[in-house]
């Protein structure tokens, strides 16, 4: 992993961001994460309960590494009240809907609204229309047109991708686009060095742990 990246070296840059996945139940949030983190797809995937956590690192360019701490949340409405816990301090969010379910876009819009109202001001939000493979096979199953979602994303200022966790289409692109939009420069600048991490976690603040230390990157992916 990039964990061993020498932190003092000017040529390598490392930044860590918290990402949260939101969206209606069974739209494929966990599958997208699974595809992104492990490049696999399970036909049988259990429901997520509460939230699942995993990390994945991507190489943005030859000297920039971005590590995502991903919170994959449960879709059922009742878990909504836990969501602030996960999007609090998140730097980016992926709001997922199912292109074969019109209702799921409505739900996605509600999530975007909530994020824009209650999450960090500068949060980068991406809208992902998942299950693209189904409509590519049979266009009649599509309930949300690309244009409609695209128009909404533009209006709300979101990144937009139609993805397929099953085939892997656009999944990496989605996360790369997010990484590119994240304020890596200012994160690094504020750390006063070539590398840094964003982690304005209240838990850290409370425990008084200094995030500037090299610990943040040195851990690597434990998942």
């Amino acid at each position: 992993m990039s964990a061993s990246t020498p932190r003092s070296s000017v040529s390598s840059r490392f930044a860590q961001f918290k990402l949260v996945l939101l969206g209606e139940s069974a739209v494929g949030k966990s599958s997208i994460v699974e595809r992104f983190a492990k490049n696999v797809f399970d036909d049988y995937r259990e429901s997520t309960i509460g939230a699942a956590f995993l990390t994945q690192t991507i190489q943005l360019d030859s000297n920039t590494t971005v590590k995502f701490e991903i919170w994959d949340t449960a879709g059922q409405e009742r878990y909504k009240s836990l969501a602030p816990m996960y999007y609090r301090n998140a730097n980016c969010a992926v709001v997922v809907f199912d292109v074969t379910q019109a209702a799921s876009l409505t739900r996605a819009k509600a999530w975007v609204k909530e994020l824009q109202r209650q999450a960090n001001e500068n949060i980068v939000i991406a809208l992902a229309g998942n299950k693209l493979d189904i409509v590519l096979g049979d266009e009649s199953k599509r309930q949300v047109t690309t244009e409609e979602a695209q128009a909404y994303a533009k209006e709300a200022g979101l990144l937009f991708f139609e993805t397929s966790a099953k085939t892997g289409q656009n999944v990496t692109e989605l996360f790369t686009a997010i990484a590119k939009k994240l304020p890596i420069e200012s994160v690094l600048a504020s750390r006063g060095g070539a590398s840094g991490a964003v982690g304005s976690n209240s838990a850290n603040a409370r425990r008084g742990i200094d995030l500037k230390g090299p610990s943040t990157g040195a851990t690597g992916c434990q998942c």
Partner: protein, 593 residues
């Protein structure tokens, strides 16, 4: 009837029982013996014996015994709570979600499932869940309910699972089936409280908000996070033997505490790392074959040494929570009553079917059914167990000494357990009595709990909203105060914080008390022009230390000047002092100003 192990009992092996089944891995011959004992317990409906076996290594071993003994352990009523078929009832509001989850069930077990059988199982699961929900419209469905349902379906089969699972839902999983999450969150709080009580150092590293990750384990009694069917069943055996929903948090705490070195490995661990470690600990659990037993016996130790009633949190818990309704609110009191009752039963040798002393306390019936056999192997689990484990045993033991008949008065097949139950009663820790609620009572509790849950949620939302508004007001005030003011969080920084708006300033203002910082701020950070004398004054005057030294300094200067001008003002005896003041005046003030 002859018993193949009858002779063995006669040899006077007194201390078989938990120790026997816990010592080391279950060898084939021990397993055979355990299966025999299980068969006896099932045939005689011996709940004490069943409890002991359920808590010993490998639990109830097979589904055959689980099917017979879980209802006994859980004190399930013999007749189903309700019998209305699903089709005769109006649909439940969350059947759509149930379908979504059922379609994604049976992922890890049963092994080698083909698509066709999986579909059959999924259909059965859907029917089971929907039947329970339709019969109990007061309950809401939660993702995770289907994980527990899967286990009951596999153990009991599609028809027999319905009554027992309905009972479990209403009496044990009720907290999770409220419209909001308030009652569920208590279970994670309990985990945090246990860790805080047992190991404050670990609690520092794993604070309560991070422990919310335990939610999937709590809501599903670990059936979501463990992927081996048998492991889940063994944990269910243990939980049902304790017959209280307060025990799963102890199991979770035990898992973390037994692997706490993983959290202390790194010197400066950050929160995402803690979450990763936490995640990993559970993902890799059980690491070995005996890990489950290690954890359950440690959970038992924790439960006895730090019973839920001893935790500060307990008082705060809702009286409707299953944490309380599946256990006595106050063990001590109830146990005393029950002991009396028990003695009475013993004297009369007048046992009812279950052989338990059902007593009357206030308007509530309590059962003597659930007491906890001491699981052996204690010395291997923890050193402080000796202290904690003994006191309740000695308290209860003396009264139980000749209470042989409390198990069962009816004649039955002799078993090795007889010798255990008669002799090791001395070792039994305090029974944890629990109330037995009727269906009507539980429904009433559920209704009250729903109202409470909604009220708590509304209160939480209100607080959150208030906080947001306060933050917003503060932010706009800061914006109005001008850009220069916002650099307060940067201290010595090069203005980096300004470019990271999501990073909240962690420390603000208290540094003012430091004179050097104050001066540095006044003269270095701020341009001279904006120093308002009045601001400086308001900052300085209230600071007692600062003002004292300031006034002191001014006063000394005045005094020095006065003495310099009027050398005769002080009497002779103040010569030294006078010299001192004159010196101050002539060297410091006169020379430099």
């Amino acid at each position: 009837m002859t018993h193949p192990f009858g002779e063995w009992v006669e040899t006077g092996h007194q201390d078989v029982g938990p120790l026997f089944y816990n010592d080391g891995p279950l060898t084939p011959d021990k397993r055979v013996l355990k299966l025999r004992t299980l068969a006896d317990a099932a045939a005689t409906q011996d709940s004490a014996c069943a409890r002991m076996l359920a808590m010993s290594r490998e639990g109830l071993v097979s589904d055959q015994f689980r099917k017979q003994l879980w209802p006994l352990l859980l004190d399930a009523p013999e007749t189903p709570l309700r019998e209305t078929p699903m089709a005769d009832l109006p649909p439940h509001r969350e059947e759509g979600q149930v379908l979504l989850d059922c379609n994604r069930s049976f992922v890890y077990f049963p092994p080698n499932l083909d698509d066709q059988s999986r579909e059959i199982y999924q259909k059965q699961l859907y029917d089971l869940i929907v039947t329970v929900l339709r019969r109990n419209p007061v309950l809401a469905y939660y993702q995770g309910f289907h994980d527990v349902a899967q286990i009951f379906l596999l153990v009991f089969g599609p028809t027999d699972a319905i009554p027992i699972f309905e009972y479990v839902a209403l009496y044990f999983l009720r907290d999770f089936m409220m419209p909001e999450m308030e009652a569920s969150l208590l279970h994670m709080e309990l985990v945090a409280a246990i860790i805080q009580a047992v190991d404050p150092d670990l609690a520092q590293i794993v604070p309560s908000d991070i422990l919310n990750i335990a939610i999937s384990s709590m809501l599903t009694i670990f059936s979501h996070d463990l992927h081996a069917y048998n492991d889940i069943c063994i944990l269910f055996d243990f939980v049902f033997a304790y017959r209280t929903m307060a025990i799963p948090p102890y199991i979770y705490a035990a898992i973390l505490l037994l692997r706490k070195d993983k959290f202390f490995n790194s010197q400066d661990i950050d929160s995402s790392e803690v979450i990763s470690v936490l995640n990993n600990v559970l993902k890799t659990f059980p690491e070995t074959d005996s890990a489950i037993f290690e954890v359950t016996s440690y959970a038992e130790t924790l439960f006895q040494n730090y019973p839920p009633q001893s935790l500060k949190l307990w008082e705060k818990l809702s009286q409707y929570s299953v944490l309380k309704t599946t256990a006595a609110p106050n063990t001590q009191e109830i146990v005393l009553e029950d002991n009396k009752d028990l003695d009475h039963d013993t004297d009369d040798d007048n046992d009812n079917g279950d052989g338990d002393g059902d007593g009357e306390i206030g308007n509530r019936r309590w059962t003597q059914n659930s007491f906890f056999p001491l699981v052996g192997n204690r010395e291997t689990t923890s050193e402080n167990q000796v202290n904690g484990g003994e006191s309740p045993a000695s308290a209860g033991g003396s009264q139980h000494s000749d209470a042989t008949s409390m198990f069962d008065g009816t004649p039955r097949i002799p078993s090795v357990i007889d010798s255990f139950s008669a002799e090791s009663l001395h070792d039994l820790p305090l029974p944890l009595a629990h109330p037995i609620y009727s269906l009507e009572e539980v429904e009433e509790i559920a209704r009250q709990q729903v109202a409470e849950d909604l009220a708590l949620k509304a209160e939480r939302d209100r607080i959150a909203k208030e906080r947001r508004e306060k933050m917003r007001a503060k932010k706009s005030a800061a914006a109005a105060a001008g850009g220069a003011g916002s650099s307060s969080s940067s201290g010595s920084g090069a203005g980096g914080a300004g470019s990271m708006p999501w990073r909240k300033p962690h420390h603000r203002i208290p540094i003012w008390t430091e004179t050097t910082t104050l001066v540095a701020r006044l003269f270095a950070n701020r341009p001279r022009t904006i120093i308002n004398p009045r601001t400086v004054a308001t900052m300085l005057v209230p600071r007692t230390v600062l003002s004292a030294s300031l006034y002191g300094g001014v006063f000394s200067l005045l005094l020095a000047w006065y003495i310099h001008k009027h050398p005769q003002a002080l009497p002779r005896s103040f010569d030294t002092l006078r010299e001192y003041w004159r010196y101050i005046w002539s060297t410091l003030v006169a020379r430099y100003f």
